[in-house]
Amino acid sequence: MSKLELRTFDVDSVAFGERTALSGRALTVSKEELRAIVLADPAFSAVDIQLVRPGEAARITQITDVVEPRAKSGGTGGVFPGLLSPVEPAGNGRTDRLRGVAVVTSGEVPWLGTKGLFVAHDSVLDTAGPGADLHPYAGLHLLVFRFSFADGVDHEGLERAVLLAGEKIARTLALEAHDSEPTSVETRELAPPPTPLPRVVYAYQVQSQGVFMRSRLYGRVLDELVPTLVHPNELADGALTSGGLGGHGAKMHTWMHQNNAVVEGLIAGHGTRWDFAGVILHRGHFYLYEDKQRVALRIAETASLLGASGAIFTLGGAGNNTTEAMLAIQECERRGIKTVLLTWEHAGPDGSDYPLPFGVAEAVAIVSTGNLDEPLDLPAMDRVVGDKAIRVRPEIGGVAFPVDREIRLERRTLYAGAANPLGFGRTGSVES
């Protein structure tokens, strides 16, 4: 069984300097070193590196991914297996993580003739004001890498390049922790509890539907994923990653997979309050009803085989994939497995519409993580990191939307991280 020693190194300050190094809780970052790592990939023509400190009022535009610095310092394999490291067993040995700092990748992804819904969506993210409550990054030092892309690279090439760049930088920073003293050390294994406790699984839905809204497991694209069982320690080592392109508000960043709040909660209570049986990774957004039923049956069968008496569901994406989650909930409940669903709502601008596109009578325990349709009024920030305008309305070919001022977002899908149902952020709903 998987056993991981997770060493946490708190970072309280970040500054640019001549050499990348961690000294106590102070991280120095060499722009030159990291620029060289990025530009070694011919997909990039230039990179701008900026730091946003906690408490600063910044609006970051066109974010593609967020990654927590992690590296292996013992045991087999490396972080981000299947992409940055070879495909070897993840989640064993020792992993170092820098807490308090995150790598943000960004840039204006060329549309290259794509249009409509399947384009690289632009979005913004604020580190202060009401927008700071919608994502988990406001208290972190954010190292923002804004890429310029070389001509002649297609979207597949760009997607891989952006993802790998974020992972390389994250690993480079975390390797500096190797000889330092960790703030805390935690050993993670799903050891059987001394006395039997209710078995609980986490049915984790991710979104993977084309190059702009992608998830990967051990490097493999999950567009055709049949539900599969993973150990939470594999997530800690970055076996599950986001995709490199696109900034739709429903996109789950790699950071969210590394720090999934539901997984963290289930680990915290393992052995005392319940017996965490594992993560059933699945995807929605299939186009045939039979495909959706297959997902539901595989989730319920896996949960049954694990002897689960409870299952926690979170949605990935916005809309279509509600069907897979609801059918799986139905199938689990029919088998006597109690379910809870965490989801945002599509409840209309004032919150009074029917909140979900599909439902089943068996879904009796649902936690709302906020209303995705509620307009978002955001004040001007002191500083814009990235372009001062984003591209909106791709269905009509794109319109420039200035963001270097007070803005109103009619849809929260334009706000990075706004549509994650993982328990991050501080939104919810009030019954009225």
């Binding site: 186009y287 045939l288 009803y289 959706k292 279509n320 069907t323 596109p357 599909f358 439902g359």
Partner: protein, 67 residues
Amino acid sequence: MISALGPVAADLGANRVVRGIKIPHPCGDPSLDPTGDHELRVRLVRGSLKAIATPLDQAALFDGVAA
């Protein structure tokens, strides 16, 4: 109602639900050549006409293509 998600259509109160092709293209299949797509569409329309002419006591799901 022609829908690729029959149970969703039924949930919304449709009495006669005709099973469509796929969610992004319920009334045709762009992966077929134009002739094949046309034939599929004709079958679906015929199946739907048959469904609408069928007397019902309760809501029902029809396979529009097979009809």
